[in-house]
Amino acid sequence: MGNMSLTYDRIYLGVSQLVWGYDLSRADRLVQCLDEASEIGYEGVLLFDSTLPFWYNRPGELKEMLEQRKLKVAAVILRPSLDFKGTIQLAKFVSEIGGDRLVISGRDGTQTEWKISLPLLERHGEIANAHGLRANYHHHTGWIAETMEQYEQLLADIDRKKLGAMLDCGHATLDFKGHSALEFYSKHSDIVEYIEFKDYSPKTDLRTEVGKGTCDFRGIAKALKEHDYKGWIVVEQNGTSGTPKGSSQESYRFIREELGLP
């Protein structure tokens, strides 16, 4: 217990499976995602909890598949529930395949349930901790912490030894009304442990390649350099009108060439 934030020597650039699809529980679909992510040059992948049960009895195989492609597990998304035994099983498995982070993101009630949901979210974080993982709460449209004010309140109310902060630039652009992703990062750079690069535009919503939406990524890149951010930046897109590989490649190129990251 007491596993605080993880430390990294530099920025790592990863990509979320979501660009390839929500349900990659079929092995061939996961393999395609891993192949393409690795071909583009990403160093890691963000996976959903639902992708993993297929591999629960063979962590070695999945670990080898990742290693062959020089990919790390950037993080695993846990949709929080009351199934704490399920979280134990997931956390054990994530640690076995070399992962070190759970991102808690899923339907978790409304403001009315604030006092009911927060201890449950913390408990998931505590279980992650007990298995050597760090957990972060993902602010999100429709989740209990959607606006910047709500997310700041959540971060103030929870025990951050159990649950840390992150920033999703796309959701911040969409949901932090009257604020911005850059403002949140500048204000909380000391506690942001994990970042998702997702873009938003009124036309393509969160199905936008990084750099094509309205998020101020140039400002964010500058702030990350100023504050010497070290850790994962994970590219995510809620689906695409192009191909997953094409879109992920475009985002990768923008981040490396235009923003000069990592």
Binding site: L82, D83, F84, G106, R107, E113, I116, S117, P119
Partner: protein, 281 residues
């Protein structure tokens, strides 16, 4: 068919001004749980097979899983029509509890519009270590049901937070009868209430709101037709008679080695026979 009978409708004024009626019953009504037909009946043809066969056997109502009604959430009238066509009433829905309270609100809105009575909360919900943080979530699901006029209860179950009789009675002691009902599953009681019996629990809880008849045997587990396992059905029926239970009695079986309809018919006729013998129906 006798319609659900309202005894002195109790008007409860909700915060938003809506009046919700608490439902009472004048007799025992036997319903069918969908589980023996399969866990996932979200495909309409599977659902209709279940409804056809349950109605043919003589069941008066049906209980389904939350996921079965997901395709119908915005069309409660269409779902209700499927039941009405077969003279079936809507007993209710099994809610696998989670943290999606908005989802529970939507589900209960559907249930109220489609005429359901019962929401049985049954699903993975942690361990003894999470008792104090899980109970508020379970209570909240029940409160949401209550605000829609649906009676919620908690299903004691192998591996859920309340498995043994002691655990279940503690849960009942820590929840409010105003919006959180008492149910019992005779199969799980027979299997999990180690050192106690199903009939013992019933006699200790005359306030019982809802009951499921399921049988258990060491060889066929909970895949057992009612009457073929080790539950003491004459004693259970006598206990039900003694507490003067009125309301839904739902028959369930986890799965079967014969066609669902044959198993569900056998259980139905056995249950009626035993209940008649005891003078409960």
């Amino acid at each position: 068919m006798v319609a659900v009978f309202y005894v002195a409708p109790l008007m409860i004024l909700m915060g938003n001004g809506d009046a919700v009626m608490a439902r009472t019953y004048d007799r025992i009504r036997i319903g069918a749980a969908s589980l023996v037909w399969g866990f996932d009946l979200s495909e309409q043809s599977k659902l209709e097979t279940f409804l056809d066969e349950a109605a043919d056997i003589g069941y008066e109502g049906i209980l389904v899983f939350d996921q079965t009604v997901m395709p119908w959430l915005e069309r409660p009238d269409a779902f209700k029509a499927l039941l009405k066509k077969r003279n079936l009433d809507f007993v209710g829905v099994i809610l696998r509890p989670h943290m999606d309270f908005v989802g529970t609100d939507k589900l209960c809105r559907f249930m109220a519009a489609a005429g359901a009575d019962v929401m049985n909360i049954s699903g993975r919900d942690g361990t003894a270590a999470e008792w104090d943080i899980v109970l508020p979530a379970l209570r909240r699901h029940a409160q949401i049901a209550h605000s829609h006029g649906i009676r919620a209860s908690y299903q004691h179950h192998t591996d859920w937070i309340a498995e043994t009789m002691d655990q279940y009675e503690r849960l009942l002691a820590e929840t409010d009868r105003e919006y959180f009902g008492v149910m019992t599953d005779c199969g799980h009681a027979t299997k999990d209430f180690v050192g106690h019996t199903s009939q013992e629990f019933i006699l200790r809880h005359p306030e019982l709101d809802y009951i499921e008849w399921k049988d258990w045997s060491p060889t066929t587990e909970l895949n057992t037709e009612v009457g073929r396992g080790v539950a003491d059905w004459p004693a259970i029926a006598a206990a039900i008679k003694q507490i003067n239970y009125k309301g839904w009695l739902v028959i369930e079986q986890n799965s079967a080695f014969r066609p669902a309809k044959i198993c569900a018919a056998e259980s139905f006729h056995y249950a009626r026979h035993i209940l008649k013998e005891a003078g409960a129906i």
